[in-house]
Symmetry: C2
Subunit: 309 residues, 2 copies
């Protein structure tokens, strides 16, 4: 896909996502206004909105229903996904976890609202994500049975990929790795595959399921998501070593300085580059076997894990 | 209902709940075993199991289907409810919130596993609760359409009552009240109605919805739950002032010593007793208008908010 065309469509997608996120967030009022404000503060802090865009574009691989206007039920899932991603960041930043005071150039949620409210705002976002999915599910009761089945399936996928067999499992392994002397490549791969890749997998799967893709296609997208997620993480670690600060928008060399084991510090730069390349190539090949116009999705993957270092 | 009979049936219910909770918890294994262990530690710490028992017994008001053997889908909701209740306690105990080191005579989850793992275990329980509901929902796809609709409705109720318009909203107001000079009765009622009552309401509603109760009956049970929840909280505050340590299993007079405003410290002992009595009477009257054998449910409510102080 042409670079300009890709950029224009991505910008439009992100704009649509921002609108949906804002619309579906609760209006802060009443005695619980503070937690609602903290949710809004956390979600509207910006970000690439990669996961909801992936839901939308994965949907479009299989259906033209949302080419012009995004269906409300699909929007609920796009928002739920970003709320889950956001809650994980809010809790990661807590003093009990990474103790980060800044994210995207602003105070983190706990630093802004206190750490009790930081815990609560994360809980609220996770719970609210499920409220959104249930809202979509209740709406589906009035449409055809196939529609309700798809929504249940998508909810089951997202809840599993966000939990102990998915993202939370990866976070647990990550906490454990911090205290370990000898972190292995196996440990690291488990962390990347779960902490980072599982929500990417879920995004691609949820969009496809809602659009009516069959089980085999959904499984294939799960593998694409896994490759993209892991490659994305290794590329991030690579950029920490060889990237320049300007491009990345954050300091480089911080992993080595912190004594943090990464795929790159264990395997070296060249093998890491090769790994990203092979994961990215495989993802593209898998995608190519799907029906529909894959131009945008291929360009999106390239922008995430292509050879830009 | 006869006291002995009540006790026997309650013991049996609690035993069934314990079995279900244990069965549905993940087996701790793999690189994320620690968070699974922490979930198990938190859930299996004991407790009255009041909320899942209420789901079961509310179901039995409207259906005899689970009189002998508890249906797996109903069990998923009973477990989900207790996991949500447990996660709220795990996060409440965190240093960022109440900073409690002991609960039910054991170290709290964060004290046992570290506070990062405490945050994560709570997140994991909340997420896992929804996984359980989705599991029930997916199973329902193969049964009749009415069954799937009930499960969606029950999931929507539980997710809403646990969130910012329910329990989390109450927790937010509670955190805010701690920093306020002049906590009003209005503030306190909001906190009790949300932090305590909402999950009780949800328990009664979920059981009824799953058994096929109509909307009016479910609304009535919501009011019963609200009364029971608020009365339960005021009674707890009363016992803090006038109860004896032995009966309550914890020190009394702690609210006054901590300068904590409660319904009792603001309104006085006698008006508080009257409030509990009127709430309890109204709950019983409301219940009486429902079909079925209300004996056990009335005895359960009496055991919770009857005149035992």
């Amino acid at each position: 896909m042409d670079k300009e065309l890709f950029k224009t469509r991505l910008d439009k997608d992100v704009e649509d996502v921002e609108k949906i996120l804002k619309e579906l967030l609760p209006k802060a009022e009443g005695p619980a206004a503070t937690v609602m404000e903290a949710m809004d503060y956390s979600v509207m802090a910006g970000g690439k909105r990669l996961r909801p865009v992936m839901i939308l574009e994965s949907f479009r691989l299989f259906s033209h229903e949302c080419d012009d206007k995004i269906d409300h039920k699909l929007g609920c899932f796009m928002a739920a996904m970003e709320y889950i991603h956001t809650y994980s960041l809010v809790h990661d930043d807590l003093p009990a976890m990474d103790n980060d005071e800044y994210r995207r150039g602003r105070l983190t949620t706990w630093k802004m609202y206190g750490d009790g409210m930081g815990v609560l705002a994360g809980d609220a976002l996770l719970n609210y994500a499920f409220e959104m999915m249930m809202k979509a599910a209740e709406e589906s009761v009035s449409c055809h049975a196939e529609c309700a089945t798809r929504i249940l399936k998508a909810s089951a996928i997202l809840s599993k990929k966000a939990g102990i067999y998915g993202m939370i499992g990866g976070q647990c392994a990550d906490i454990e790795a911090e205290e370990k002397e000898d972190v292995t490549i196996g440990d690291l791969m488990f962390i990347h595959e779960h902490k980072t890749a599982c929500l990417i997998e879920a995004a691609l799967m949820v969009g496809a399921v809602l659009a009516g893709a069959d089980d085999e296609q959904v499984k294939l997208l799960e593998r694409v998501g896994s490759n993209v997620g892991v490659a994305f993480q290794i590329r991030d670690d690579l950029l920490d070593v060889i990237g320049n600060t300007e491009k990345l928008g954050k300091k480089t060399g911080s992993d080595a300085a912190n004594g943090k084991a990464t795929y790159v510090t264990i395997n070296g730069i060249e093998p890491s580059k090769e790994k990203v390349l092979s994961l990215s190539k495989e993802a593209e090949e898998l995608l190519s076997s799907l029906p529909g116009d894959k131009g945008f999705m291929l360009a999106l993957i390239d922008s995430l894990i292509g050879r830009t270092y």
